[in-house]
Amino acid sequence: MRVVLLGKGGSGKSTLAALLATELTSRGEAVVAIDADTVPGLAQVLGLEPTDEWHLANQAVRDNGGWRLNGTPAEIVDRCSMPAAGNPRLRFLQCGNVDADLKDIEFRRESNLANWSGTIAFNSLSRQYDDPGGWAIVDLQGGTLQAAGGLAGTKGVALLVVEPFAKSTMTARRFAGMGQWPAGIQLAAVANKVASADEEDHVRAALAPVGVPVWTVVPTDPALQRAERDGRPLVTVDPDSPARRAVAHLADRLIDARHPAPSA
């Protein structure tokens, strides 16, 4: 099952991706967490050593003037993803810090071809990868650019992470209105950092006209805020804290989406 997180910068995609990965693995599920952000940040909230490295360097090869993946998506994930210490059910993969090298005009030349090839491989894999027996959680970068380019893929659940203010709901409506979403993708929203019933209503009112259901409301949570301030992995946040309870509810919804109840 594929779950892709979308939303405005800072809306909480990586935070929810990490909490969701933690929740699903605690239930015995296998998860591959994929950080597509070109300024990566998911490793840190997962409790892994943060790096800028390209995990897929050299994983695209020249083919007839274009590029192709050097293996099936599953083979590449097996080969290139890194295990998460202390969580045997979690593996991690990142695109790598592209911005750092784009400053260098040599980026696409021979000296950096490994990383350029890695970026191409990553984009291709982000579109395609799925784990039928487990979960692929793909954390896209903030804004609409990657999804407009097709990185949300063609199947699974696309979760719009929405904060209760105009810039965030406007961005969510842009995602919903980008055109015909692939038939295999179920588009749903998570209202994040919600402090009151009024704020929840604001998000619901913005999304109802574009037909995006709000699956879960994640409240503002001091325990989560402290962990983020201190740069602690989010697995250290009390499982009974409001945000983690909301993510447990989200996991229920996603498991239902994977195994739809037989219609009566």
Partner: protein, 104 residues
């Protein structure tokens, strides 16, 4: 002319700082052109344009593309053509918006 760039992590408040700064400078009598270079642009909201007018702003980058509505002209012409009035001495120009699926 002074040029001010505002940078930082997503959600850190770049757009809010830029919007307030532009308003204050214009109120002090300076001519201010704001440039929203984000591909998911929302500076119009922070300037007080509202959602509808912000969504109607055109991307000036189109003017610089071979297949855009205009062939490359001077930067001043691009700004004159694409900038929208926000208030006295205050204008906004948006660079580009990715709000449709595109091939490739």
């Amino acid at each position: 002319m002074a040029k001010i760039a505002v940078a930082g992590k997503g959600g850190s408040g770049k757009t809010t700082v830029a919007g307030v700064l532009a308003r204050l400078l214009a109120e002090d009598g300076h001519d201010v052109l704001t440039v929203d270079a984000d591909e998911n642009p929302n500076l119009g909201i922070s300037l007080g344009l509202g959602v509808e007018r912000t969504e109607r702003l055109l991307g000036a980058r189109e003017a610089l593309l071979p297949d855009g509505p205009a062939i490359a002209c001077s930067m001043e012409e691009v700004v004159d053509d694409f900038a929208a009035e926000v208030g006295e001495r205050l204008r906004i120009v948006q660079v580009r918006k990715f709000d449709h699926f595109r091939p490739g």
